[in-house]
Amino acid sequence: MKALVIAEHDNQKLKAATRALVTAALQTADQVDVLVAGSACGAVVTAATRIAGVSSVRFADHDSLGHPLAEALAALVLTISAEYEFILAAATTTGKSFLPRVAALLDVAQISEITAVVDRSTFVRPIYAGSALATIRSSDTIKIMTVRTSAFAEATDAAVAAPVAALEFKPLAGKATFVSENLATSSRPDLAAARVVISGGRGLGSAENFRLLDKLADKLGAGIGASRAAVDSGYAPNDMQIGQTGKVVAPDLYIAIGISGAIQHLAGMKDSKVIVAINKDAEAPIFQVADYGLVADLFTALQEMEALL
């Protein structure tokens, strides 16, 4: 049984999500290969060879894969898909975009955002914004799935590096072209990898007030997230949204500030180890999932906490 894992990276660094993918893949298959598709991504390939449990690293290095389109990634995976019983990608915006194409062209189902492997054909995934967990059995010969990487431990490094093999990649005659990208640059930890996440909601009241979270985040080395209401109101950029339709995080500590706790928000954070809620409304649903709740004005609480840390 062989599994192919598609690496998450930014051409310079291998993302931790890849390690979680390897862990998930090792629960299904005896042999796990990693595919790195990118441009000038040598360092990523090297990092992937060191992950414990990886049998080999295959890579395609091409200019046009610097900003890989879903069409190109799917085409590349299809050149080697016949060798594998399992194909796994992270449930990121990249994985979500290309993997369903692979499944459709192989005429098999995709199982989205699995959080557990029961056996080689049975997987668990949340549905209805995490209101329920469905156990799904696949009858396909190739199982294709995206993985909620926060639900799997990160594979560590091994002593011996896995072998590397280059793949040929022919760029497609482009019906889709990359135009531009505007990526957030932040010195803060990536939300997916942060050990502590502080999230702000509509209760912050303005973009200016939202910046008040910075000081606390600096002290705790935290990533900053936001509710949809905070993003829609322009307090925070969209890449900070946590929830059913944003990012899913499971840090050691999640601090929700001025967030009511709608089911769509809970979907993105309720598997955090310790949850703190600060809200002036004692009835806010966020308190139902909080390990520690503080019913208080958030502006006062923020000031007091900063002084104590």
Partner: protein, 250 residues
């Protein structure tokens, strides 16, 4: 230029669902149903493109039981011109949905297909991408801005790191994110007008699509409950607990 919009009947986004006691699924009996919020955004976008004179006709399509015609009426009240109802079960797998939509694409030859990025019930986030692949059309998922011209569509996408812009040759497939637009309020005259707009009813067999099942649901359960928390009285008490009890901060 024709725009095809796929819509799905789902539970209302603000209704709480319960897992059935026999663990075969969730209990939807007597719950408020609505058009999937992302589909509504897709319909709104299509109608706006028509209002700007960039499209000539907006066709809504749904796959489901007869009840799903309510959502086609909603789409037409928002401004879609006509609808297609593919009669099938309510819980088809995304690949089957994509194959049925492909059959409609082949028949209607739209320049643009708009879909929601995911439905809030099964949360699969697959159909648009599968449809694009099966039709060999370029795709842009998670759209937050759509600029249509006669031969291409330029789409801003919400990606994990920020924003990305793609240019797609028509015909193409675009899936919508939350911030693309805010659907209009449906006015009574529009709702009345929508009642007279045509709905064509077809079956998968008439479209030449065989429905195949790839997945079975073994069980559906409640997520494990979190253990009850405590309410602290002050920020000082909170910091103390985080430091000395939970040991998550230094």
């Amino acid at each position: 230029m024709k725009i095809l919009v796929a819509v799905k009947r789902t539970i209302d986004a603000y209704v709480k669902v319960r897992v059935r006691s026999d663990n075969t699924g969730v209990d939807l009996a007597n719950l408020k149903m609505a058009m999937n919020p992302f589909c509504e955004i897709a319909v709104e976008e299509a109608v706006r493109l028509k209002e700007k004179g960039l499209a000539t006709e907006v066709i809504a399509v749904t796959i489901g039981s007869d009840k799903a015609q309510e959502q086609l009426r909603e789409a037409m009240a928002l401004g879609a011109d006509r609808s297609i109802h593919i009669q099938a079960g309510d819980e088809l797998e995304p690949l089957n949905i994509a194959k049925l939509l492909k059959a409609v694409v082949l028949k209607e030859q739209p320049s643009l297909v708009l879909l929601g990025k995911q439905s809030i019930d099964s949360d699969n986030n697959q159909v648009g991408q599968m449809l694009a692949a099966l039709c060999d059309m370029p795709q842009a998922t998670f759209a937050s801005r759509v600029e249509l011209s006669s031969d291409k569509v330029v789409v801003s996408r919400e990606v994990d790191g920020g924003e990305q812009v793609l240019s797609l040759q028509l015909p193409s497939v675009v899936t919508t994110d939350l911030r693309l637009n805010e659907p209009r309020f449906k006015k009574l005259p529009e709702i009345m007008k929508a009642r007279k707009k045509p709905i064509e009813v077809v079956t998968p067999a008439q479209l030449g699509v065989e429905i195949k099942s790839h997945l079975t649901v073994v069980s559906v359960i409640d997520p494990p409950p979190r253990k009850a928390g405590v309410i602290v009285k002050t920020a000082a008490e909170l910091v103390d607990k985080l430091r000395n009890e939970a040991k998550v901060i230094a």
